[in-house]
C-alpha cells in the first residue's frame, strides 16, 4: 500500500479558512439530521394519509392511494430529486420558477420535499399493513358504537396500528437518514458531501470516509436505541408483547 495515513488531518483548517475538517464534517452531520428530520415529518404525514386512504371502503380513495404509491416507489430517488430541482422550476409559470431557483438553501428545501415524498410511499405501505393487521372486529366495534369512520381511525385503529408498525417505522427512519445522502447530487452539503469535499481538498480519502462512516453508525445506534425506548414507553400492557407475525408458531 502506498497510501499515506494522516489522522491529525481532522484538526487542520479546511479551505473555507475558518473551520477545521472535523468541524465541517459535524456541520454536515447537522444538515443530514435536519434534512432527515423534516423529510420524515413529511413522510409520516403523507404516508399516514395515503396509507389510511388505501384501507378505507372507498374504491376511489384506494385507487388514488395505489397510484400515489406506485408513482413514488418506481422512480429512483435520485431521478425524483432532479425532477424537483431541475424540472419543476421550468414547468411552473416563469416568475414562480425564477423565485424557486433563487431561493436561499433551495437544495435543502428540495431535498426535504423529494426525500419526504419518496419515503411517504414506503410509509404508506407500512401504515396500510398496520391497519390491515388489526382484527376486523375492531373497526366493526368502533362503527357499531356509533363512532364515525374518521373517529374509528383516530381513536381505535391508528393508535394500535402505529404501535404495531414501530419496528419497521424505525428502519424507515434510518432509511430516511441514509437516503438524505442522495441530496449531495443537488448540492446539499450534508455529511457524505462534506466527506467527499474533505477528500478532494486534503487527498486523505480513507480518513474522510472512515469518519463519515463512524458518524453514520453512531447516528444509527442512537436512533435505534431511542426508538426502542419509545417503543417500550408506548406499549399497551398485556397486549403488544404479542406480535401478530408470531401467531401460529
Amino acid at each position: 500500500m502506498h497510501y499515506h495515513w494522516n489522522w491529525p488531518i481532522f484538526w487542520e483548517i479546511s479551505p473555507d479558512g475558518v473551520h477545521t475538517y472535523l468541524q465541517t464534517l459535524l456541520m454536515g452531520t447537522g444538515w443530514t439530521l435536519l434534512t432527515a428530520a423534516f423529510a420524515f415529518i413529511i413522510a409520516l404525514t403523507f404516508g399516514s394519509l395515503i396509507g389510511v386512504m388505501r384501507t378505507t371502503p372507498f374504491s376511489f380513495a384506494v385507487r388514488i392511494g395505489d397510484i400515489y404509491v406506485e408513482l413514488f416507489r418506481n422512480i429512483p430517488l435520485l431521478v425524483q430529486m432532479f425532477l424537483w430541482y431541475f424540472v419543476l422550476p421550468e414547468l411552473v409559470p416563469r416568475n414562480f420558477g425564477n423565485w424557486l431557483k433563487q431561493l436561499p438553501n433551495a437544495s435543502f428545501y428540495t431535498a426535504v420535499i423529494a426525500l419526504g415524498l419518496y419515503m411517504s410511499a414506503r410509509l404508506a405501505e407500512q401504515v396500510r399493513a398496520g391497519v390491515l393487521s388489526l382484527p376486523r372486529g375492531q373497526r366493526q366495534a368502533g362503527l357499531a358504537l356509533g363512532l364515525t369512520l374518521p373517529q374509528t381511525y383516530v381513536y381505535v385503529l391508528l393508535p394500535m396500528a402505529y404501535r404495531i408498525i414501530m419496528p419497521p417505522l424505525t428502519s424507515e427512519l434510518l432509511n430516511t437518514i441514509k437516503n438524505s445522502a442522495v441530496a449531495l447530487t443537488i448540492g446539499l452539503m450534508e455529511l457524505t458531501a462534506r466527506a467527499r469535499a474533505m477528500q478532494e481538498y486534503s487527498f486523505q480519502v480513507f480518513e474522510a470516509f472512515t469518519a463519515a462512516t463512524v458518524i453514520y453508525i453512531a447516528i444509527n445506534i442512537m436512533v435505534t436505541f431511542a426508538m426502542r425506548i419509545a417503543e417500550r414507553r408506548i406499549a399497551v400492557p398485556g397486549y403488544l408483547g404479542f406480535k401478530p407475525q408470531d401467531a401460529g408458531h
Binding site: 435520485l78 425532477l83 438524505s180 453508525i217
Partner: protein, 236 residues
C-alpha cells in the same frame, strides 16, 4: 388545457429521439448488465454470508453479522465513494502488484454493488433458510447426509424458491439504485440522459424521459413479480 399546452410548447421531443441510441445502447445496457451481474454476485455472496450467520460458530457469525450491519447502516452513496477509491487497492492486494490496480468504471461499480447488495440478499436468504422446518434438516442428518449435502440438496433449493419473489423485489430496488453511480460520473442510463441534458441544455425533457423509463420498467417488473408470487402460491 391551455396551461398544459403552454407548458409543453417549449419542449423539444426530438432531443430524446436523437439520443435514443446513446441512451439505450450505452446507458441502459450498462444499467441492466450491472443490475443482472450484481444480483447474481450478490445472491451468491449473500447466501454464503447467510450460511456464516447461521453456522453457530462465533468465528463465522460475528464477522458476517458485523459486515451486514455495517453495510446496512451507511448510505449507499458513501459506499460507492468508498469502493471507488478502495477497489484499486483491493486489486493491488489480490494480485500482489506493486501499484494500485487500474480498474474500469464497470468493474468498480460491479464490485461495489455486489459487495453492498450481498448484505441485503444475506438477510433475505437467512429468512428463507429459517423458513425451512427443522424436521427436514434432522431427517437429512439422520439419513447420514453431510452439511454440504443437506444445504445443497435439501435446504437451499427450498429456501431459494420460497424467497424468489423477495429476491426479485430486491433486484428492482437494485435496478433503481444503479442510478446512484451518477455520483462517480459513470454513464449508466441516468448518466447518459444527464450528459445529453447538459450538452443540449435540455434538462426538462431528458430527466422527465428518464423518470418515465425507470417508472415503466420498475412497474412492469414489480407487476410480474406479483403475478409470479401468485403462481408460486397456487403450486404450494
Amino acid at each position: 388545457m391551455l396551461g398544459i399546452e403552454a407548458m409543453f410548447s417549449h419542449f423539444d421531443f426530438e432531443v430524446i429521439i436523437r439520443s435514443l441510441p446513446y441512451l439505450f445502447y450505452q446507458g441502459m445496457t450498462f444499467t441492466l448488465l450491472l443490475t443482472a451481474l450484481a444480483t447474481l454476485g450478490g445472491i451468491v455472496l449473500g447466501t454464503l454470508l447467510a450460511l456464516m450467520r447461521l453456522s453457530g460458530f462465533a468465528l463465522l457469525t460475528v464477522p458476517a453479522a458485523a459486515y451486514v450491519n455495517l453495510m446496512r447502516s451507511v448510505p449507499f452513496v458513501l459506499m460507492i465513494f468508498w469502493f471507488y477509491f478502495l477497489v484499486p487497492y483491493i486489486g493491488q492486494w489480490v494480485t500482489f502488484s506493486s501499484r494500485p490496480m487500474q480498474v474500469g468504471a464497470f468493474a468498480s461499480c460491479l464490485v461495489t454493488f455486489t459487495l453492498f447488495e450481498a448484505a441485503f440478499f444475506c438477510e433475505i436468504m437467512r429468512a428463507g433458510i429459517q423458513s425451512i422446518s427443522r424436521g427436514q434438516v434432522a431427517a437429512a442428518q439422520a439419513l447420514g447426509m453431510t452439511y454440504p449435502t443437506v444445504m445443497g440438496y435439501i435446504v437451499l433449493p427450498q429456501a431459494f424458491r420460497n424467497m424468489v419473489p423477495v429476491l426479485l423485489t430486491q433486484t428492482i430496488v437494485l435496478f433503481q439504485d444503479t442510478s446512484l453511480v451518477y455520483v462517480i460520473s459513470v454513464t449508466d442510463f441516468l448518466g447518459a440522459a444527464s450528459k445529453v441534458a447538459q450538452r443540449d441544455g435540455r434538462l426538462v425533457e431528458m430527466y422527465l424521459f428518464a423518470a418515465v423509463v425507470y417508472f415503466v420498467i420498475s412497474l412492469a417488473a414489480s407487476r410480474s413479480v406479483g403475478l409470479l408470487q401468485r403462481r408460486i402460491a397456487i403450486i404450494r
